[in-house]
């Protein structure tokens, strides 16, 4: 599995993907993605959230199988059924979220499944530790190879992943946002390692949202948008503006009709919120009738902020006030009592009892008020639920229909109905239209706009740039756990938001 061993004629790319498509049920993740990576080069793959980069990588890694399209390694068609196939072909992937075994030692994590063996077929721990130590000194990090992986920072976990890839002697190394959690020194070290791997003739794919890094490290850049290949450019012949334009490259039409509403007094005020490792010094306000968009890249800390405000998770410092009254931390009940409603990102998991009826779901939050002598009757549930269901035009045959069988859009409406029944003053909604088809999407948007018009304050987290730009009166941009911009509706453009979302802290330090 030598890095340069290849019988293919010179000039054949190490990795080539042509018109690859992949759908998950009705959701199209990739429609026609292409990527061509040469040996001895570092290739950047960029694109917005949801452009399909991660899906593409997972196809190369053998996690997913493509629906159609060509997949060639050294000019030979391949088809991976599992991750071990891709490993055997010399491909190493470092995922955004490191995948380590917390209970096992750092060394075991590096060598799991291919530990060196002694003559008696025993795992050779001494050899493993020696090699791990050598790997870490090559990477220039001080990590005890015997300590368990549990408790390591993301940066350290990343280092272990890289050590693993190097020890695999991979000829194609794919890194999905490896620098997101690294400090400046660590990034420099990683880049030095990446360059030396390139000089050994290996091919590297580097996914990053930090353009300064793309330009500092990479030779070529491929841009993806909405599951499609957009363009490939040599880094030397392009600039940041062109890449940003290629990434967003679509018109923000009137798809999302936000009707202007009179903005009233401050409903939610967050000040100096701080949670170690998640977000820092977050302060903002949301007013009556205002939709505030919380934009940023996946993993920037948007959902974490929302969860802390609502009290699902704790925070170390800072205050949350509703209508001037402080809301105690880590107490969702108090948050609900103060008038907050929270619709999480994954509604199947967190917001909806999918195995229960629509009525029961809608009535779920206000149950206390509905029950008589502690007994909750179906009739009371239905009575409470029906006005909401009608108002939101939930398309269900009957209120006793099971929520699991409904479409994503209708499920979302049920969740919204559920919370509106508590008569909230502030609605926090995380990814309101994820996994919802286009038609229902605009209905959800119309609903949110209407609710804001009636004076509800809305904090909307969204990874979809057009949605943020179309819906929000104000856009707050989060980058690496900090608010990096507060952009008024009129000034918000794809470019300005994208720039604020990718302005790494390093650049500011």
């Amino acid at each position: 599995m030598a890095a340069t061993a290849s019988d293919a004629p010179a000039g054949t790319p190490t990795l080539e993907l042509r018109d690859v498509a992949k759908s998950f049920g009705p959701v199209v993740a990739l429609s026609s993605a292409s990527l061509s990576v040469d040996a001895g080069s570092i290739h950047a793959l960029v694109g917005e959230n949801g452009a399909g980069k991660s899906t593409l990588i997972k196809i190369v890694a053998g996690v997913h199988r493509r629906d159609s399209g060509d997949f060639l390694l050294d000019g030979i068609h391949v088809d991976f059924g599992s991750t071990s196939d891709s490993k055997a072909a010399g491909i190493a992937v470092i995922y955004q979220e490191p995948t380590l075994f917390p209970d096992l030692s750092v060394t075991e994590n590096i060598f799991m499944g291919r530990q060196p063996l002694t003559r008696g077929r025993r795992v050779d721990r001494a050899a493993m530790h020696t090699e791990a130590t050598a790997l870490f000194s090559r990477l220039g990090v001080a990590l005890d190879p015997r300590r368990p992986a549990q408790g390591l920072s993301i940066a350290d976990q990343q280092i272990i992943e890289i050590a693993k890839a190097i020890s695999l002697d991979a000829r194609l190394l794919i890194m999905d946002e490896p620098t997101a959690a690294l400090s400046g020194v660590e990034v420099d070290r990683l880049f030095a390692v990446a360059r030396s791997l390139r000089d050994e003739g290996r091919a590297l794919v580097f996914i990053s949202h930090r353009f300064d890094e793309v330009f500092a490290l990479c030779d070529t850049v491929t841009v993806m948008r909405d599951g499609e290949y957009v363009a490939t450019k040599p880094v030397a012949e392009t600039d940041e503006d062109e890449i940003v334009a290629l990434m967003v490259g679509r018109e923000v039409g009137d798809l999302f009709p936000k009707t202007p509403a009179t903005v009233g007094e401050v409903v939610l005020e967050v000040e100096g919120l701080d949670a170690v490792g998640q977000f820092h010094d977050v302060s903002f306000q949301v007013r009556e009738g205002e939709i505030v968009g919380l934009a940023g890249l996946v993993g920037a800390g948007r959902s974490e902020i929302a969860r802390a405000v609502f009290g699902v998770d704790g925070y170390e410092r800072g205050t949350v006030t509703m209508h001037g009254r402080p809301v105690p931390p880590s107490n969702p009940r108090a948050a609900i009592a103060a008038g907050m409603a929270f619709i999480p990102e994954d509604r199947r998991k967190q917001g909806l009892v999918t195995d229960a009826s629509v009525a029961r779901n809608v009535a779920g939050v206000i149950r206390g008020g509905l029950s008589r002598l502690g007994i909750l009757t179906e009739g009371a549930e239905n009575r409470a639920a029906s006005p909401w269901a009608q108002r939101l035009a939930v398309k269900t045959g009957a209120l006793d229909m099971n929520a699991a069988t409904m479409s994503g859009g209708n499920q979302q409406k049920v969740v919204i109905a559920k919370w509106l029944a508590t008569n909230p003053k502030l609605l926090i909604i995380d990814e309101p239209t994820r996994g919802i088809d286009v038609g229902t999407k605009s209905e959800v948007h119309r609903l949110l706009s209407e609710l804001a018009g009636q004076g509800l304050a809305i904090l909307m987290i969204s990874s979809e740039l057009p949605e943020v730009l179309g819906m929000a009166d104000r856009v707050l941009v989060v980058c690496e756990g900090r608010l990096t911009a507060d952009i008024a509706r009129d000034d918000a453009t794809p470019e300005s938001v994208m720039r604020a979302a990718t302005t790494s802290l390093e650049a500011q330090r």
């Binding site: 990090v141 990590l143 190879p145 549990q150 400090s183």
Partner: protein
Amino acid sequence: MSAAQSTEPSTPDAVERLVEPSRQPRGRRILTTVLRSRELAILIVLLLVIAAATLTTPSFLFSSNSWRDLLLTPSILLLLAAGQAVVVITRNVDLSVGSVLGLTAYLTGRLFIDTGLPVVAVILAGLVVGMLLGLVNGVLVAFGRVPALVITLGTLYIYRGVVLTWAGSDRINADDMPRSFLRLGTASILSIPVLTIIALVVLVGVGYYLYSARGGRELYAIGSDPDAAVLYGLDVRRRVLAAFALSGALAGLAGVLFAARYGTVSSGAGTGIELQAVAAVVIGGVAIFGGSGTVWGAAIGAFLLVTINRALPIVGIPDFWQRAVVGGLIIGAIVLDRVLANRTARKLTEAREDA
């Protein structure tokens, strides 16, 4: 992040501190590991229990019979606990072992009565049948993607149903089985019962595999994070299948030895022992969510469980409290696990952030 990284991570001091544990001489490192291990803690509890019982009633330890009983009684549970530990390490559980034991114990008797097979063949038959029953569990768990708790709860009833139907009110008696076989259950070598020796051999084998073989290490990896194991390209299904097959085989062996030890087998043999096996594993420090623990801990846990059950009446503790003590032990072990895990996690995080 900022606090952790505002200080240079690579100052010589920090490096020194971080790599320190590895720089310790090998002997001292091993000593520290042993002293801090869960296994030692339970072993001490076990010794205390034995000491307390012996102080109250010296014959608890100091009579030839009681020494034998001390070693002999836990032996069958030891086998079950060893298999259970392997399964629990993979983040599964095998509740069917009691029924497998009952089935193979009755099978043993029937084979002697109906076929007159030699002793060795009967032992092998018990082992193989147990393994097949375990394989059924494994296939359902690994391919059916149903939680092991549900699957093995189902097979617990099914396997027991098979014995009940097959045996009815029939009972295997000592007379039905050859002398040489029954002697297995009572004989001793150098004052150590043969059953105990068999259990120890199994323990050493399983312990060696878990610690030193690639396959054993992969079992830990699977239990530690099943999704990561898939991304690593480990053959998760095959390993889980093997773990259940092993647990079944050991339960089968335990069934054969049960027949040899007690001489009588009814359709209810081994009822409820699966819970003792799980309890032994948990008390022994195998994390119920997989990924950590050793078969040694599970063995000492089994030993402790059985010994406590024998010691408490001697110390004069009434029946209700005997059960409560066992329950308290289980809950205590889990609480201790959580506390220790949290403390270690915090320590490990701090060690890194201080750097």
